[in-house]
Point group: C2
Chain length 220, copies 2
DNA sequence: CGTCCAGTTGACTCACCTCAAACGTGGTGG
DNA sequence: CCACCACGTTTGAGGTGAGTCAACTGGACG
């Protein structure tokens, strides 16, 4: 199983909850693992003996309901840390949205870590994820479809942008499952924004924002 | 301003990001601050020089959109920690849902904490909040009104229950803003659950669950 | 040139929202 | 003790934003 393989490079990091092998860009922490598009990195319920940092590419973390409905928690890009969990098990699953490189760090479950202290950098990463999750909740609970899409575009432009045109790594389905919408609604909303002269859609996976103010207005 | 007053008892805790004055129940960490119902504990954008732990009562943390729409992030009960933020400012506001007692702990912003390490207990609390936020996102993005209400009831029964009857600390408006619904939909859904024999509503703020399985089924 | 699959578009439906009125309960004052 | 008010809640009637189902489009690839 690839996951076994995935863990091995991290074993050089022995201290629990430390980042001794992580440096600012994460590149020298050991060889990056490669995951090709749509590969699962870990599944809901699997042992959470590692956490991860994205080196390149995009990763989605998500949850599933028993009937298959999916909610994407976040898209992670270079520098983002994901997979840090309370218990010994991952409560989300993680998948490669695009081909990507990822560094794994071995961890010890919190309940076995005793009084060993934690790097503030790690805490900062967790707090960043928490803050994103809180913003996401407002979006999911209180915004209309067009506001959701506008917020997503602004957010993604900031994260990924080679300014001018946004390159989408993900499908409409991914966007829908991130925003709590169906693909049809995502598609229709993008078309409407195009008709309104707010964006252009040179190709399916490329979006050019021609009127940022309009998006900012929609963002409240 | 009451917030100034609120901070003082925490000043006995000097080390940044430590919990030396916190013990398991949080009661001996210093005198608890009292907040009466609907008092603001801190506002969005205020300096986050303290974080907090609930001793008794219920606290809500929430965000507002510019037009007044509100999303409640979480209800916090005895033992829960809230108000730990990435930057120097609170990104949510916190208010007393019921009269409550709260302990404040002074903190130092992460960016000034340097390499000082962090208690794993604090990290565990943050991870708990993160996990709750992730569950909340699935609820907001992918569940129907009746599923939302069922999930809320089960959740709240677990947190607050003197088994048998659930005592609600919050209004329908609070529940709606937590679940991403209007008060009318919350009310109608509760009425429907009552008609279906799943719950009883002896009074507005009391709910007796008569059929837990039905709720669990709705919860997926 | 045909197949496949992601995306788009259209027609229709429905879950939830909006607006409005009625209800109930707790508090206040006569 | 009762009349009245305030406010949170419930209920009803009607509207609508987003979902559903289905047909169509357009690149990518063999």
């Amino acid at each position: 199983m690839t996951v076994q393989l995935a863990i091995s490079p991290a074993s050089r990091s022995f201290a629990p909850w430390t980042e001794t092998t992580i440096d600012e860009d994460g590149l020298s922490a050991g060889p990056a693992l490669r995951y090709e598009q749509d590969r699962e990195i870990y599944g809901e319920g699997e042992d959470a003996d590692c956490y991860y940092k994205v080196v390149s590419g995009v990763v989605r973390t998500c949850k599933f309901l028993s009937d298959g409905r999916r909610q994407i928690d976040a898209f992670h890009v270079a520098g983002d840390v994901f997979g840090i969990e309370t218990g010994g098990l991952h409560s989300l699953s993680a998948e490669a949205v695009s081909d990507c490189r990822i560094v794994a760090y071995r961890r010890v479950p919190l309940d076995k870590a005793g009084t060993q202290s934690v790097s503030p950098r790690l805490l900062a990463q967790v707090l960043r994820n928490l803050s994103r999750a809180q913003d996401h909740a407002v979006l999911l609970g209180r915004r209309s479809a067009i506001e959701k899409v506008a917020a997503f575009l602004l957010d993604w432009a900031r994260q990924s942008c080679a300014s001018g045109t946004i390159g989408l790594a993900m499908t409409r389905q991914d966007i829908g499952d991130y925003l709590g919408l169906t693909i049809e609604t995502v598609s229709r909303t993008l078309s409407q924004l195009e008709r309104d002269g707010v964006i252009e859609l040179p190709s399916v996976r490329q979006i050019r924002v021609t009127n940022v103010e309009a998006l900012n207005d929609l963002n409240g």
